[in-house]
Symmetry: C2
């Protein structure tokens, strides 16, 4: 196991005395706050999705297709890290109900490139709006550089061996979105 004896001595605002002189005590506050925060974070979309007969799996697919129009099925599988059987189930429902469409690849006609429809984009943006409202509310309670610090913290929480790939993926979607307008 990695060395847990991490010097965090300069921060006492949240950790306080339970750290002092111990060295091996888990960082309980972040562990538990992440649990509660993430649960609420996905709770808002869950409520909307439930009314449509969808679940979180549908949300994830819709989100990434909306963010990366023309995405290949293989790319989506790689991002979600689920099997194609699991993806197939929810993707089929999204397609059948008109939230996502597939187009044959221009270069490679085996590919089924994924796009959201107008209906799909509306839902994806509604869900992203709920999550953004929560994030914006949280950031506005903190200092002006809270957004940057939050991003750096979350980035550093990602496995080092695919951190860069994640950042490139996010940046690529941002560039594509700006280019589309």
């Amino acid at each position: 196991m990695a060395d847990l004896t991490v010097p965090v001595a300069t921060d006492r605002a949240f950790s306080g005395a339970e750290w002092a002189g111990r060295g091996n005590e888990p960082i309980w506050d972040v562990i538990e706050l992440l649990f509660f925060a993430y649960r609420d974070f996905i709770g808002d979309p869950d409520d909307v999705l439930a009314k449509l007969g969808f679940g979180r799996a549908h949300h994830r697919v819709l989100h990434f297709v909306n963010r990366n129009p023309g995405m290949k099925v293989a790319e989506l599988l790689d991002v979600l890290k689920i099997t194609k059987q699991s993806l197939g189930r929810v993707l089929k429902q999204l397609i059948d109900q008109g939230y996502v469409v597939q187009k044959e690849g221009a270069n490679d006609r085996r590919q089924r490139l994924l796009y959201v429809t107008a209906k799909g984009e509306t839902l994806a943006m509604k869900l992203a709006g709920l999550q953004t409202a929560r994030i914006a509310g949280a950031l506005s309670e903190l200092g002006p550089n809270a957004h940057e610090v939050a991003c750096r913290f979350l980035t550093a929480m990602i496995n080092a061996d695919h951190r860069d790939a994640v950042l490139r993926f996010i940046a690529r979607a941002d560039r594509a979105r700006r280019a589309r307008g």
Copy 2:
């Protein structure tokens, strides 16, 4: 633990509720970084648990019982926000395999107060150690007050109407742990 309650700014730029309809772009980076970071965060424990035939549900139960020895079943249900049938399934396995024990309440003999065994504490601390290693590694890449900012951000991401209850819950577990030593 120090007071985690963050004073709510009354004059912030825009509240969550005001966000929608401004034509603003969603905060894609935080949305997606949260997804990837949380997945990796729970991935480490998952691997350990899988070898024992346990899943995330067992982890959550073990975690909170370890953090709050003598917890009532009803309290655990309230924290996890699952049904007693769902809890019963995993709790029974943890008890049968000697990770958790139940003791009759001293005042109210209907209560089955929950405690981890030595075996249970060992596992709980191992899992918390994995998550702490990740968190400590992330915080060490950032500035000296990153821990405080991360906690404030995560706290602000929790639903306002139970934020204080969560903070009190965390603080109570910390105090009890310090008292035990």
